[in-house]
């Protein structure tokens, strides 16, 4: 099966503080994409979650991806409660990035507050998708030092309601979260949310197929959560859901 037209909307590069990852470099990401026939990847920077100054992480991201563009599309991180974040939006826009990522729990702001409203407004104005990550790992295996809360459905609802033109991509959500947000939002709000499939079961319980029917197939995008999870997982889900 060829997936050359597939875009991975949920890739990252870089190390992770709580466990060793097999080669999380852009070269390895591209090698995996070549092996599996994946065309492009929206690519963020994993270490930026733990940087106080996300802009410094973005410097590393842009530099690391420079040899691999346009196949790897940078998705920089934006911390709206740290000075200069607006310049990161401008940089993302200028660099033709498809999206920016933000991590409310890691950066220490509430999705119900003014900072999120300012960020979503800036994203909407710049034409950038805003990426929210529900979780990084299965909660049962987390390190004792990994005390940052996962996002919950309310965080997604708060974010989509904070600006009426912001477009969201929500990664690593399971069926329960998707349904809670979808049926807890207006059709107009829901139409601005996309979900990646990396955390949604496909077989044998058919969660993904169920969501295709009830939420709409057009709301779901391919995503792998490299370098934490196997590429084969999202591909198997896609294949088994057909």
């Amino acid at each position: 099966m060829s997936h050359q037209t597939l875009t991975d909307h949920n890739a990252l590069i870089g190390g992770y503080p709580f466990r060793a990852l097999p080669d999380p470099s852009p070269a390895r990401l591209v090698a995996e994409m070549d092996r599996l026939g994946i065309g492009a990847a929206w690519t963020g920077h994993l270490p930026s979650l733990w940087y106080r100054d996300a802009a410094a992480g973005n410097d590393e991201l842009f530099a690391a991806l420079a040899p691999w563009r346009p196949r790897l599309l940078p998705v920089p991180a934006v911390n709206p409660v740290f000075p200069g974040w607006e310049r990161e939006i401008e940089r993302a826009h200028g660099e033709r990035c498809p999206a920016v990522r933000t991590y409310p729990s890691h950066f220490g702001f509430t999705t119900a507050g003014a900072a999120m409203g300012e960020l979503t407004a800036a994203c909407a104005e710049a034409g950038l998708v805003l990426v929210l990550t529900m979780r990084l790992e299965d909660g049962r295996q987390r390190s004792r030092l990994d005390v940052v809360a996962d996002l919950i459905g309310a965080d997604v609802r708060n974010t989509v309601r904070s600006h009426d033109a912001v477009r969201l991509l929500v990664t690593n959500a399971d069926r329960a979260i998707v349904e809670e947000v979808h049926w807890g939002s207006t059709p107009a709000e829901s139409s601005r949310i996309r979900w990646d499939i990396s955390w949604i079961w496909a077989a044998p319980e058919d969660h993904l197929q169920h969501l295709y029917r009830t939420v709409g197939r057009e709301r779901f995008v391919f995503g792998t959560h490299f370098p934490l999870r196997l590429h084969e997982n999202a591909l198997a889900r896609l294949e088994l859901a057909e």
Binding site: L21, E205, L235
Partner: protein, 276 residues
């Protein structure tokens, strides 16, 4: 058509089915889906269990004796319905020793291949000894539900981790144990770092976890000769792990060991049918 997991025998050692008493109105459809996906993937043998009433009339991991019996009976009926494709474990709750031994005997008489221990009693507990002695006498393996790295108690389960199972396995060196679902939650590295010195414990790859690095560490820690393929609740992740193993550069023989040869050895299977 070639199965998604490729041609050749493929044994799923960690399978669950539903039944009428489990309280799911779609239990028949759920079972049919599992078998249909199994055919697409290329599973040639499902070795399966039912854990009592799946929480409907007693807790999933601490099932009542009556629910254990009813679940085992339903599981055996499914195996009879699909000869050559489905075999079963006998599920027991070790807190009820006489009942557990009676269930094991009933299962053995009707072709059960192994014993399934959920999380009714910690694996290291002495109450598991009579179960293991019976397993040794009958020459069948034990599949033990595991939480990878137990860091405290968990609601609804008396959970065990690799160290608990290793204590049991050391007391019963002739019994073959399966450490359940290395991808089923918890710190898989904790289990895999512990297991090199436990030669009578095999690792089952099932579970929803698909972390990069897990398969590499499994191969490095216990070797392809002590890895079993399985799915548990998610067959998509099972397929993904199988494909990832294929890409790791293992030899054909090592892949065959993980796909079916190790299972054939510990379950003492004489024939494994292949999908058409």
């Amino acid at each position: 058509m070639t199965p998604l997991a490729g041609a050749g025998p493929l044994v799923d050692v960690h399978v669950h089915f539903q039944h009428e008493a489990s309280g799911r109105s779609d239990w028949r459809e759920a079972n049919a889906r599992r078998l249909a996906y199994g055919e697409r993937i290329g599973i040639t043998l499902h070795i399966a269990s039912i854990l009592g009433s799946w929480g409907h009339t007693s807790p999933t991991y601490v099932p009542s004796p009556d629910d254990v019996s009813e679940g085992n009976e339903a599981m055996r009926a499914i195996a009879v319905e699909h000869p050559g494709l489905v075999r079963c474990y006998t599920t027991v709750n070790p807190n009820f020793t006489a009942h557990a031994l009676k269930e094991i005997a009933a299962g053995a008489e009707r072709g059960a291949l192994g014993i399934k221990l959920a999380a009714s009693r910690r694996a290291s507990d002495a109450l598991l000894d009579p179960i293991c002695e019976e397993a040794a006498r009958r020459g069948v393996p034990i599949l033990q539900h595991i939480w990878q790295h137990r860091r405290g108690e968990v609601p609804g389960q008396e959970i065990s981790d690799a160290l608990d199972l290793m204590a049991l396995a050391a007391r019963h060196p002739t019994v073959r144990f399966i450490l359940a679902h290395i991808g089923g939650g918890g710190d898989w590295a904790h289990s895999l770092r512990a297991l090199p010195d436990a030669p009578n414990i095999w690792v089952d790859l099932s579970g929803s976890g698909v972390d990069r690095g897990m398969l590499e560490l499994a191969v490095a820690s216990v070797g392809p000769g002590r890895i079993l393929w399985g799915t548990d609740l998610t067959m998509d992740t099972g397929l993904a792990k199988l494909r990832a193993l294929t890409s790791m550069g293992l030899s054909e023989d090592d892949l065959a060991s993980i796909r079916w040869k190790n299972a054939a050895k510990i379950f003492r299977l004489t024939t494994i049918s292949q999908q058409p």
